[in-house]
Chain length 338, copies 4
């Protein structure tokens, strides 16, 4: 940690800051520059003091913490990169893995058709929501466990793994019977009670970035899973909230190479939620793979116009097929297969 | 709902849109302007169709939904404004109500001193966290139920009502024994499972705006509580995330008059979380009252330097006393007392 | 324009709004829905009234303008898409056009080497700044006209067109002698005096999106150029300001397909300013092409470590060569060549 | 400057970074912590190297610059605070100074009535635009010099100083004849050519924060004025762009106490542009004064409904009078007069 004193800070002020630092356990090195005095502090654990407590001392200009708060998620914990095995499919390896399917599980026929269509086109996983968190209390709320049963049967019949969102820690035990990869939605990225319970599971977890979460906060949330013992973690960009309102969110494609540098965890992208509009899903899916994503989550529905939720961002099956062909051309440019 | 066709949209495109609208149950009125054809649609329920499904039709330029998705939270549901009674104290009435106390319940002595100090200075409620959602898994996580017991005793002894954060629907029944006003934190503003269960409680709820939530989303979340039967809802501004990083969040003071216009619910402000720095809490507390807030939530700690969490944004007791004196001068300028 | 009345608006309020609308020249159609009364207004010119003036009338809930404020920039003005000819190179056609070069013109040798290297790798244009707008008054401010002379000589010798930023309307006449494509920087996107003067030029203009400009504002600014008579306009995404601070800006890749849908103008992308970090330039350049960009602006410097400005975001020449090879693999996936 | 090496950085990597630092002129002090090696660097001028050039070296985790890039704007340059004298009125002193008037100068009668009304209510300055930068090329563009003449006559007759926006460096000489305080609009906050020329003037300058400018960037822009020799600089908050779209901008009230701490320059607030809606101007004006603003800029128009621009955010004269009365009650709470 570094404490930069204001220009003109008095010796008494500097001494008071040093005393505070020493009291909590830091070793302090003082450098006196032309303009600023700077205190470099080395301690056993940096978070023994809230940096803001130092910033509020007289004569302090600013405080720079040094240590990352995330440790296990950091790249140098596993420089070669983690490959997460989801029912035999490796995410984070040479192949870009595509997970596709409808927003919500609606009925058996819809899921069966979805599974068949996306498997034929080359997807490896089937996505579908059984519990739908909707901003309005007046909208369709999902089929629950019945939906998961339908989904598991259809997915496994077509050789696909099952991805579905867990909303609450009370759902984990039930869902583990059906799901091969838990999805934690953007709104739950900082639901620490949920993360702590998922950490005890051995089922892999796909953790989506919150719409107002920094990349560092995403990594800190993954730390809850890793430090609790679940190392099968995959991260996912799905759009952040900005002033631009033409698209529902602004998909932060640059987060993909940034996360790949900072962390060893695989990084996927969800262009369906990232844009909210079917006609933008395809270009953003291509962009994500071109930027180095380890996989994609794409909403596809046999008949988007009849979808009970998010039909507007679901691809038609033939659009998905065409997208997969384009991705097969792009993947080699980043040294990947599909 | 209005559908605006693109300049140059063909008659066939217009006809296709009209057919779609009529099929789902709308009555359509077509106006042909110099540049754009516009379709006005009146139907039994506007949300029978996702506007994005219309936007994706050929020839459609844009779609404007008309009906608010929130109904019970809307001002005209109770034009005179709602006054929420919290253990005999009215929030939303003539008096500005101040709730104060430490970030976390740490021990009996700390809470007793806090309660005494804030009561003497004029606060009506005691705040304090028993469960602490921390972004790092390595930080202090709260005292739990034991903390709530301590808090209730101290608060009621000093004539204060108790405010504490509920993190999860499984905590509601236990917490109801101790808490006079449930706080829903910013991260849980869209935890709909939690909101649905709180709606069944008769204990009042203070709902904080999420750091990336629009005012409309805040009102929609309050609708979950109201439509479920809990009418004792208070809203709270506590800062939104913007590009400016000098303050932890940017406190959106203008949300106060905006919410007061759109909704009948009381609107409080939390300048402690809104700024994250003790030296900015006081000016922002004054600003919130000057802008028309119905109350404040302020972090005060008997010894902020020893606080286990958020000491940097906690006021010293004498700073709080001084703030209350300033607020007593400002309140009459907005026709209020304190 | 549509005016939506509040639930419970009185007949007198509705009548007052209608009167106001009729007075300024609108024909009004009233629809009475279950909840809201809505007034559809058709007039000769929509902007004869500021929508906020209507919003402030008693009983008005919201106002929706219908007509785009941009007309000439709109896609339907030229549905096939505009191709801008810059010294014989077509931008907006089948080929993705890459412009490359250093941030600033520093000296003759640096520019000559830059021009040669980027031409060999396949670039069609040479970029370089002669006037450097720096946020600090204490930084290198550029070579001015001398720099433009050097640049023109080197570029044309290697068959490249010249792109350089114009800072001010007083520079236009001088710069036209050297520059084949004027660049308007992000900070000047709404410098309307500058745009009005550039509109009188016949030299093409590359208009960069401001870091806090919406897509609609970018198109409105282009309207200043088009309505003033300069139809050779190219737009460019270069990152917007968001809460995420790991990258200097957040490059809004989705703006590329959005602009291509809304407007007929070519849309380029600048991954160097969009990310501010060399190691992120390459993935974001690939992403932009995969998303459908008509061209790229990339900073390349013969020796980035010695660059007088922005060396950190400049590619090494061999990195640029490698990027061009990757782009040649991606372009066919979007039906383009390079 | 501090360079934090990654966990696991090799000795060779550390040595390479030290060499680079020493080469450009830094003295380096190395601290080896449990996890990270940190290099503290002291040099004659910190900006001899772009921190990003260090961030890109192998093994570097992050770089923290220490010195502020602004020097003359910094609080410790004049700890007592600067008072700017504008035609005999002191801004930054004990009294809160209110400047009021219409958005645009429209005609003699409108300005005469505006000046009279705001002077009677207690304003000290008259504001009004002669050149209107409009996002649409099809809107009213201002009266130019004729407008300034009208304005000067009316203002001085009523004992008010004149504030008007300068759009371009070519207008300075002409405008200096009429204007007592130059306003630099939000869009020009980083128009460095304009700032450099204004720095040569002795007329005071009111510099508005750009809608996407950080507080630090605002101070850096003021440094252009100060370092060029014009010390009569006043800063002004007028709203930043965020995801919230109910208000035109989000007025960052917290910027007021932040700037007052970081800088000695006076800080005003413009609630009219900060909110864009008349009904929000009054609460935000009160909030700004309660938060410690040195003054306000408020749009007032004799007949807002007939205003040629921004009528929707202009107060009626009697609303302004009422606001002034409220401000007189609030000012003493912050130790000020009005």
């Amino acid at each position: 940690m570094f404490v930069v004193m204001e220009q003109g800070a008095t010796d008494a002020q500097v001494a008071a800051v040093i005393e505070k630092l020493v009291t909590v356990g830091f070793t302090v090195h003082r450098s006196t520059g032309v303009v600023h005095t700077v205190l470099g502090c080395v301690g056993p654990k940096e978070d023994i003091i809230d940096p803001r407590n130092l910033e509020l001392l007289e004569g302090v200009k600013e405080v720079h913490p040094v240590m990352s708060q995330y440790k296990l998620a950091s790249r140098n914990f596993n420089p070669a990169g983690t490959r997460v095995n989801v029912r035999g499919v490796e995410i984070g390896g040479d192949a870009v893995v595509v997970v596709a399917g409808p927003c919500s599980v609606e009925n058996e026929e819809q899921i069966e058709r979805s599974a068949e269509q996306v498997a034929v086109a080359g997807a490896k996983g089937l996505r579908g929501g059984a519990f739908k968190p909707r901003s309005s209390p007046y909208s369709f709320q999902g089929l629950g466990e019945a939906g998961l049963k339908i989904m598991q049967k259809a997915a496994h019949r077509h050789g696909l793994f099952v991805v579905s969102e867990v909303m609450d820690h009370t759902q984990i035990a039930m869902m583990e019977q059906y799901v091969d990869l838990f999805q934690v939605g953007a709104r739950n990225m900082q639901n620490f009670n949920l993360l702590k319970e998922l950490a005890k599971s051995r089922t892999p977890v796909l953790l989506k970035r919150g719409i107002s979460a920094t990349i560092e906060e995403l990594l800190l949330s993954s730390e809850y899973l890793l430090s609790g013992g679940n190392y099968n973690v995959i991260l996912c960009e799905r759009g952040i909230r900005t002033f631009e309102s033409y698209t529902r969110n602004t998909m932060d494609i640059s987060a993909i190479p940034v996360v790949k540098k900072l962390s060893h965890l695989p990084m996927m992208a969800d262009p369906s939620h990232g844009t909210g509009r079917r006609d933008k899903v395809i270009p953003m899916a291509r962009a994500a793979v071109a930027a180095g994503a380890d996989g994609l989550l794409v909403e596809v529905h046999p008949t988007p116009d009849q979808a009970l939720s998010d039909g507007a961002q679901s691809l038609y099956p033939d659009q998905f097929t065409e997208l997969m062909q384009q991705l097969r051309m792009i993947a080699p440019a980043v040294g990947r297969t599909l």
